[in-house]
Amino acid sequence: MNVRVLLIALWLPFQAMAQGFAGLGATPGDFAQPQPGTALRFPQDHGAHPDYRIEWWYVTANLTGPDGTAYGLQWTLFRSALAPGDGAGWQTPQVWMGHAAITTPQRQFVAERLARGGIGQAGVSPAPFAAWIDDWRLEGPDLDHLHMTGAGTDFAYDVALMAKGPLVLHGQGGYSQKSGSGQASYYYSQPFFTLSGDLTLPQGKVRVTGTAWLDHEWSSQPLAQDQTGWDWFSLSFASGDKLMGFVLRGAKDFTAATWIAADGTPVSFPDGAFQATPMARHSVAGREVPVEWRVRLPARGIDVTVKALNPDAWMATSVPYWEGPVTISGSQGGVGYLEMTGYAK
């Protein structure tokens, strides 16, 4: 059984390969569907939603070492259900995938784990919060106080996160629309983490501090048939304000954004308000990927240039994509993270 190929067919959210991202638009079948007007309940909704087809917990962090060197860090746990519902033991249809990465200005360190649900190898429990796959953990007494570890053959990290602000619900109270024809997901973030801890790199341990951003999103069919991929931005401005925005590329691009004021008040923007234009492309893993963008949110006076810290921040995982830290310049300065999927060879 070639797991890699199977997973590429299975992990529809992340890779187009032959069929583009069409798989994400495939019929959701018996899976539950996000409904507008549903109130998210915490801490229960921090946990897994096995009746939905896909789900992820995503932490990205912008860090600085003692010598001022900038680093990026990623910890991601994906869940994919082969069929709705959970079950005990090997028979559960839940499959898990973890990605961990450290980005330095020169190098990208990446690791991947795959796991079966039902046997304790991977999972997420809401309270006390624990998300894990193998020895990688993101856990703490609650979502505001987390301890996060990840490791590969040539890197490791062990960091503590503390939330300095409230949870942010995207879209309409967490119901995040993904196309003009109604595809949607549940989506909330915790963008206010401060972080401190150690990176282990080939040259040794590096003490780092910085900020981190957690996303939790679940759905059964987040993309429309014609959508092939997305460009997702999480930007933290020097003013303390934050911006989450994405472009879903399709026959007609669909954009959405959430402006998060420094006190945590979110404002959602509909399709078209958020604009991102590629300015420079970079050849990585045989693809031409835009690593410099002009990002605008005219409603808030935002017109900035977003530039990759390391243009080679390629996630060479079974479902490959680009994910890395960025720096912001222009109307405002700051740092952030950029994720780009569905760029074909």
Partner: protein
């Protein structure tokens, strides 16, 4: 011009179809056995590779439990959560099939039923209904499971693969794992194994019990036989090519005189031979397929019985072996024709075009020197050499040396006969035989090799059979063997038989790595059965008493030889416990190492291992009744109780199969040699007319001449046979004392079987007489005009 030369060259074969047939048949037969053996080896290797690829055996380091018990699933999770990148495997028998459960998500690259790069339906594989992947033939033998069956030719023979969850359910082994495959890349933060699961042990990939390594010796054995028969085939080819060149010397000279450049002539002769070689090679490969297809089931049975290796009984046409067959045919022809081409290149243009007499013994001296040198090499290797390959090199040197020594020795014998000849006819007979010797010597060498191989191999097989039968009598002393399915049933059995049998001998064993080699550790009860029956190759005084006190261990010969553990050497049987070797016993049942502890010590060291198999000592007349009672009261199926006779028959069956292949190859070699002799006699018969015609003219009838031909063939075969016997015995000694020790790890005593040799000698004489019969019959029917023609038109 090229076409004209080729036509002239080919014209020779048209006029001499028998010679053409000899050449093609010799090459084809040699190639057939070679490629047949290669086909078998290729098939077996493909099966091992399939097993290694689909199950990750030998390619990845593995974690198993020290006790031999299954690993708890919780331990697997604990390892994962401590940073170990491992993948679980559970396996067992479902019906006759080895069912292996894997987790496709964690399995290292390449492990699983489908090769890399080909999709499959992961959701279906992981679904509650599940999928079972196996070869179509294997799927047919699986009991009904409710899972979807998927034909996958890449899976090893008699093996089925499914998701670990499904396999745990089908085998009724929830939460159990047999071994963990360790991915080659492990994270930085991994914690030591001893800290997380001290009862588990890691075996590096290179140490893993690699079935291909284990069976190497067996395949090398087959290859050696293939080479031997190819060599015999080459003797035939060399003879046929040599004869054809001798006969074509006048034509070659004429062609050269007509202005054909030497280079062109040699190139065209080479082209002609290459064409013939390819034709014969293709025939040989086709024949080889037939040979392999008929032998493969026996080989597969042997490998399964002896090594537990699963080999497909179906033969695939793999390029590896048919290409090697064609290459051998071409290469062999080149070797056989090298001398002839060399002499063609040096042929003086103006020299006589007459064929040089075949009766030239110029090369005999050099040949004798080479023979002595090769024999010396063989002796030297026997004394100081090590390793299986060296063993075969030694055999090769011995056989080729013996073959080369044959013509000079035969010449000596014939001279001795000639010196004692009385009367003109007898003197002519001996002289004429001497004259014919060079022409026949290649065929006789082939006969010598075939006979020596027969003597050697039959001595080895028979010696082995005697040793093995005696060994079985010693070892299978219990009258009844019982296998319980679980501990409860085992208790029911022991309770039931208590007081009814003379002794209950539990068979306790676990697989361990001893001195870096895979071995099985047994716990033996202190019982008269062992004391009375076991024979040691070497033993310390009071071996049984000291063993019973737990002061040491017994090891088998294989472990003694491979790990160099002599009496008194310490064997680490468990962490922190090393015990001296008290005795070394012969073990001819399997090639693996064994260690025997006393039962009490075994139970202390491996408390989790419980005996499910028992040997029962009782009156042989009562075994039937006890079996019935075990069936009725303890619920044991009939298949779980086996009496001594049945086990012996089974063991002997495995043994017979092992050597059925060898014997078949042997007989084929002898047939090839007989054929070589017939062809040589046929071609010589034509050449010898000028020598026979005068004798006929002096009054000897054709019938008597024919009879003398027959007698000559038998005399030569008898002399050859006399020389083959010592060579064969030397071969047997080498097989028993060098090759067997290296291949299986046991040294066998050599027994002699004079009657068997006599029968073989008789067979060889018969083969020679049969080979000579046709040429002799043709001689007796030769029209007198042809004999007269010798005088009318001397060549």
């Amino acid at each position: 011009m090229t076409w004209a030369i080729l036509t002239a060259l080919i014209g020779h074969w048209r006029r001499n179809p028998v010679q053409l047939f000899t050449l093609l048949a010799g090459l084809a037969l040699g190639t057939a056995l070679w490629s047949g053996v290669q086909a078998i080896n290729a098939e077996a290797r493909a099966s091992y590779d399939a097993a290694a690829a689909t199950l990750g055996e030998a390619r990845y380091a593995q974690i198993t439990s020290r006790s031999g018990e299954p690993i708890a699933q919780a331990t697997y999770i604990a390892l994962l959560r401590a940073g170990w990148v491992v993948s679980p495997v559970v396996e067992g028998k479902l019906g006759p099939v080895r069912l292996v459960g894997i987790d496709p998500l964690t399995a290292p690259a390449g492990v699983g039923p489908l090769p890399q790069g080909r999709g499959g339906d992961l959701a279906a594989f992981l679904s509650a209904r599940g999928q079972i992947f196996a070869r179509a033939a294997t799927l047919g033998t699986l009991p009904a499971t409710g899972a979807d069956l998927v034909a996958a030719p890449q899976v090893a023979p008699n093996t089925a693969l499914a998701d670990i969850g499904l396999v745990q359910r089908l085998l009724h082994r929830p939460d159990q794992i047999d071994r963990l495959l360790v991915a080659p890349d492990q994270p930085l933060t991994r914690r030591p194994l001893a800290e997380i699961a001290p009862d588990l042990t890691l075996t590096e990939a290179s140490e893993a019990n690699d079935v291909a390594k284990l069976t190497d010796s067996f395949h090398l054995n087959l290859t050696a036989f293939g080479l031997l028969s190819f060599a015999v085939g080459l003797f035939i080819v060399h003879g046929a090519i040599g004869l054809a060149f001798e006969q074509r010397r006048p034509m070659m000279r004429t062609l050269r005189a007509l202005g054909v450049p030497l280079g062109r002539l040699i190139a065209l002769v080479g082209l002609e031979l290459a064409g013939l070689a390819l034709l014969a090679g293709a025939l040989g490969v086709a024949l080889g397929y037939v040979v392999a297809a008929s032998l493969l089931p026996d080989v597969a049975a042997t490998l399964r019985g002896l090594y537990g290796a699963e080999v497909s009984g179906e033969l695939a046409l793999r390029p590896a072996w048919w290409l090697s067959g064609l290459a051998m045919a071409l290469g062999g022809t080149a070797v056989a024709a090298g001398g002839a081409l060399w002499s063609l290149a040096r042929m003086p243009l103006l020299a006589s075009g007459q064929p040089r007499a075949w009766a030239m013994a110029r090369r005999q001296r050099g040949q004798a020197v080479l023979a002595v040198a090769l024999m010396a090499l063989a002796g030297g290797l026997a004394l100081w050499g090590h390793g299986l390959l060296i063993g075969f090199v030694m055999l090769g040197a011995l056989l080729i040396g013996g073959a080369l020594a044959l013509p000079p020795l035969l010449a000596l014998g014939l001279r001795w006969g000639a010196a004692r000849a009385r009367g003109p006819l007898a003197q002519w007979f001996w002289a004429d035989t001497q004259q014919q010797l060079p022409g026949l010597s290649l065929a006789l060498m082939a006969l010598l090799l075939a006979m020596a191989a027969n003597v050697g191999v039959s001595t080895m097989v028979s010696s082995f059979r005697m040793t093995f039968t005696a060994f079985l009598d010693q070892r299978l002393a219990s009258e009844l063997y019982v296998t319980a399915s679980d501990e409860a049933q085992a208790r029911a059995v022991t309770d039931l038989v208590a007081g009814r049998v003379r002794a209950v001998l539990p068979i306790l064993s676990i697989d361990r790595t001893i001195a870096g080699l895979p071995a099985r550790v047994y716990g033996a009860r202190d019982d008269a059965t062992y004391r009375d029956n076991w024979r040691f190759l070497r033993a310390a005084p009071d071996v049984w008493d000291r063993l019973a006190r737990g002061e040491g261990v017994l090891i088998n010969e294989q472990l003694y030889r491979r790990a160099h553990l002599d009496l008194g050497a310490n064997v680490t049987v468990a962490p922190g416990l090393a015990l001296p070797v008290l005795g070394i016993y012969g073990d001819y049942g399997n090639p693996e190492g064994q260690v025997v502890l006393t039962e009490a010590l075994f139970r202390k060291l491996f408390p989790t291992v419980s005996a499910l198999r028992f040997g029962l000592r009782l009156d042989p007349a009562k075994t039937g009744a006890l079996r019935a009672e075990l069936h009725d009261k303890a619920g044991l199926p009939d298949s779980a109780t086996v009496d001594q006779a049945a086990i012996k028959a089974l063991s002997l069956g495995i043994f017979e199969r092992t050597f059925a292949v060898t014997t078949a190859l042997n007989i084929l070699t002898l047939a090839v040699a007989g054929f070589a002799m017939m062809m040589s006699l046929l071609t010589l018969a034509v050449l010898r007319l000028p020598q026979l015609a005068p004798v006929w003219a002096l009054g000897l009838t054709r019938a008597r001449l024919a009879l003398l031909e027959l007698v000559r063939a038998v005399v030569l075969a008898a002399l050859t046979g006399a020389l083959a016997l010592p060579l064969g015995l030397a071969l047997a000694w080498a097989l028993l004392s060098v090759v067997n020790v290296e291949a299986f790890g046991w040294l066998l005593p050599m027994y002699l079987f004079p009657l068997e040799y006599l029968r073989l000698g008789g067979l060889a004489l018969l083969a020679a007489a049969l080979a000579a019969a046709w040429p002799a019959w043709r001689l007796s029917r030769l029209p007198p005009t042809q004999l007269l023609g010798v005088f009318r038109n001397e060549r």
